[in-house]
């Protein structure tokens, strides 16, 4: 039998529980408000939807990583473009030098021209062997080897092949000091027609893949392909096996090796025309590659725009899933604070409200 329906234990417990509960809540709300704005325990709030949230996070990561690989691809394309510019530039340089020395068959001038051509060839070779983060950009998928062999290097297979072919041509046609196959070659004896045939054959061999890959190129024909969005792949490199490079190599070698010789005027003019035309064609070819890569660059820009848009959408959805409403949280914090204060005040009041104090 009990007369009252309250006990010290129950009133104490009620307040204690109210206080601990409010403190716990306050701590969590404060952490939510001051932290990254996510729910205190996202998993508990989301439950099974956690998997959705994780999937979106993964997609978001994927988009971010696509964006970063796209920037890598862009860098590679940029490097390729710059190198192609250099290559086109050196081709144009060769053309201007050729024009400059066209009517100066003197030995001094020929040597000067040879030096200029050597420079241009070196610049071109350097550009063709451009690397971007350790990869040769013009090597196609065979990106770990130098794609364009240096013609000027000692014992370069291209030079050996050319020299052999040229010697055979001189000796077999009897363009020697004594007209026999064993005599010393005399370039002045070369007839324009013979030279024309020789150059036609040589050009054909430059266009032959086996010859080209054996002497000039280590690159694969297959160009690199990059994924720039979840559904799109683009060509992200070109190779030195393209027509522009071959034409330049042919023109430059012809000019470098033959125009420096003491040729007859007609022969020299014929040779000059072949070399000049080939270089001029090479500029067109290089520019063609530039256009191809330019299209890829454009695709990447478009893809990036779309990726960024998707990223924004995903971020918004994730935020709406995981984030707390800060206004609501701050209102809750205020309520909790006043609740706590009330509980503290009540505790103090109830302590003083004891019959003991009135006896």
């Amino acid at each position: 039998m009990k007369t009252s329906f309250v006990s010290n234990l129950s009133s104490q417990l009620t307040l204690q529980r109210a206080i601990t509960q409010a403190q716990k809540e306050l701590q969590q709300r404060t952490a939510e408000a001051s932290g990254d704005g996510r729910h205190w325990d996202v998993g508990v709030v989301l439950g099974a939807k956690t998997s959705r949230s994780l999937n979106m996070h993964r997609d978001l990561d994927r988009l971010t990583s696509l964006l970063s690989t796209n920037s890598l691809t862009e860098t590679r394309l940029g490097a390729s473009q710059a190198a192609l510019d250099l290559m086109a530039g050196s081709a144009e340089n060769v053309m201007s030098k050729l024009t400059l020395f066209k009517d100066s068959p003197a030995a001094d001038d020929r040597n000067k021209m040879k030096d200029e051509l050597k420079n241009a060839l070196q610049v071109f070779t350097g550009a063709a062997n451009t690397t971007q983060s350790g990869e040769y950009v013009f090597a196609g998928v065979n990106s770990d080897v130098e794609p364009f062999k240096d013609y000027l290097a000692a014992g370069s297979p291209a030079k050996v092949a050319f020299d052999t072919a040229f010697n055979d041509f001189m000796t077999s046609n009897g363009f020697t000091n004594d007209g026999t196959a064993t005599g010393t070659p005399d370039p002045s004896k070369i007839t324009p027609e013979a030279m024309q045939d020789f150059l036609t054959d040589l050009e054909a061999s430059f266009n032959d893949d086996d010859y080209w890959k054996a002497n000039w190129s280590n690159a694969s024909d297959e160009t690199m392909v990059s994924r720039i969005s979840t559904g799109e792949q683009v060509q992200s490199s070109t190779t030195v096996n393209t027509e522009g490079v071959r034409k330049f190599a042919f023109g430059a070698v012809v000019a470098y090796e033959l125009l420096a010789l003491d040729l007859g005027t007609d022969t020299r003019n014929a040779t000059f025309d072949v070399a000049y035309n080939s270089i001029a064609n090479s500029v067109t070819g290089v520019n063609g590659e530039k256009t191809k890569l330019g299209i890829s660059q454009e695709r990447i820009k478009k893809a990036n725009d779309s990726l960024n848009a998707q990223k924004d959408i995903l971020t918004t959805v994730i935020v709406s899933l995981e984030r707390v409403d800060l206004t609501e949280v701050s209102a809750q914090v205020k309520t909790l604070e006043s609740q706590l204060e009330l509980a503290f005040t009540l505790t103090a009041r109830m302590q003083s409200l004891s019959l003991l104090n009135y006896l």
Partner: protein
């Protein structure tokens, strides 16, 4: 009535007041003792005219029963939630940094990057590292999960021996209550102890009480198994020391009847015992099956030429050469990254690009990506998973791994909500119980004032009678 009678009655009142004061002071001493029920010294008129005080104990059986139910539900839910929280911790913080799904997603990303630049050894290395992370994550979580099971098993063993001890102690106090009730003695202290023990027992397993003659209590579990009836029934359990994924834990028997495990996130478990059984036999093995299926998915996805590729597994002590066809218990603990691609073990990471079991890159091209693209396609393709895992049976590996996290969080979310509800219910029940049966110091103080008045009045009475007697004596003088 005579003066002597008056004196006697006043004397009796002293004794009554003393007893009442003793009861009041006992009440005040126990004001903060939650296991104490308030006593009240009641004055009764007996047939022979005297008034003597008897001590009654405040008791509210309905609230007490409700309290026992609340305790066992709350403790059961708490136990389950603690286990789920521990499983959640295995997955890292709020971003699930350590979960297989996170590492899988990293692996997928790295593989994409590598596929874009297949010539880059460092990218191949990072794929291998990610793959190692995935395998390690599966191994670690699988290990932690089995540790959780073995700890739950140890907890069950501890709970069982505690339950046996509590039951034998319960017999002591129940016998005291029976005796005191049968012989009209004071059973109050024994009742306090018995109620306290009931609380402790119901925190281990939910009980329902049946009161029999002489306030003798028989205890039944919520499933109707006899726990105590005249004598405590034996609770038996054979602990299993160490657990692997395939280990089946032993059941707990009360009076020869198996204790059923709780079910669901908002668990049906009453008390810690069924909740621990649920953790050990339902939740953890279910999650293990999900991990095993994730591991199988990985091995299947990266298989090459019909043999395990990037991921392989240890079948016993040796590296397996077959791809498991279905749910293989313990696969998550056995999955490894193929040593053939681990440079630390003399392998070549580039074999990932070229083929581990047979060289597919016959052209020896640095940017060969046929295999890599194949793996990436595999990530997007639906796979078939075992229904024992309890989640989507046909989905992609990545989605399966996140669905596994979602499954755990769903359980935890339900458990958290239920814990809050059950804790609130317990709090309310306890409050009601304490309001009804605990001590209010103010009330006791007021009662004490009353007693003081009564005592003073009796003293006055004695003094008055004494004076009257003295007057009488003087007269005879």
């Amino acid at each position: 009535m005579s003066l002597s009678d008056a004196m006697k009655i006043a004397q009796a009142n002293f004794a009554n007041t003393a007893l009442q004061t003793a009861v009041v002071s006992k009440n005040m001493t126990n004001a903060s003792n939650p296991n104490y029920s308030r006593r009240e010294a009641v004055l009764v008129s007996t047939s022979y005219g005297a008034t003597i005080a008897t001590t009654q104990r405040v008791q509210n059986d309905a609230l007490l029963k409700q309290n026992l139910v609340s305790i066992s539900k709350s403790v059961g839910q708490d136990t389950l939630l603690t286990g789920l929280e521990r499983m959640k911790t295995m997955l890292g913080g709020s971003a699930y940094e350590l979960s297989p799904s996170t590492y899988l997603s990293e692996l997928w990303n790295d593989l994409q990057t590598f596929a874009d630049t297949p010539s880059d050894l460092s990218l191949a290395q990072s794929v291998i590292t990610s793959a190692t992370d995935v395998a390690n994550s599966l191994n670690t979580i699988s290990g932690s999960l089995q540790k959780l099971r073995s700890e739950a098993d140890a907890d069950i063993a501890a709970s069982v021996s505690e339950l046996n001890r509590l039951l034998s102690e319960f017999k002591t106090y129940n016998d005291q209550v029976k005796l005191a009730t049968a012989t009209g003695g004071d059973a109050n202290d024994a009742l306090d102890q018995r109620d306290k023990l009931l609380g402790q027992i119901s925190s281990i397993i939910g009980v329902s009480t049946v009161v029999r003659a002489n306030n003798d209590i028989a205890l039944y579990t919520t499933n109707g198994t006899v726990l105590f009836e005249t004598l405590p029934r034996t609770v038996t359990f054979e602990p299993t020391r160490s657990y692997t994924a395939g280990t089946v834990g032993k059941a707990v028997f009360i009076d020869g009847v198996e204790v059923p495990a709780g079910t669901g996130g908002n668990t049906s478990a009453s008390g810690s015992l069924p909740a621990l059984l649920q953790l050990r036999d339902d939740i953890a093995p279910r999650y293990q099956a999900q991990l095993d299926e994730t591991a199988r998915g990985l091995i299947t996805l990266f298989q090459e030429s019909g043999q395990p590729g990037l991921f392989t597994w240890m079948d016993g002590g040796t590296q397996a050469t077959n791809v498991p066809g279905g749910l293989t218990t313990g696969l998550a603990a056995a999955i490894r990254v193929n040593p053939a691609v681990l440079s630390s073990q003399g392998g070549d990471p580039m074999k990932l690009r070229d083929g581990i079991n047979a060289n597919q890159n016959t052209g020896n091209e640095a940017s060969f990506s046929v295999l890599l693209d194949g793996y990436l396609k595999g990530f997007d393709a639906n796979m078939t998973f075992d229904p024992a895992a309890g989640i989507d049976e046909s989905t992609t590996l990545l989605e399966f791994s996140t669905a596994s996290v979602g499954w755990l969080e769903q359980q935890r979310s339900a458990a958290t909500t239920a814990r809050d509800d059950k804790a609130a219910l317990l709090s309310r029940t306890q409050n009601a119980l304490y309001s009804a049966s605990a001590v209010s110091v103010d009330e006791e103080l007021a009662l004490l004032l009353d007693l003081e008045q009564s005592y003073k009045a009796s003293a006055k009475l004695v003094a008055a009678i004494d004076e009257m007697m003295t007057a009488l004596m003087n007269m005879t003088g």
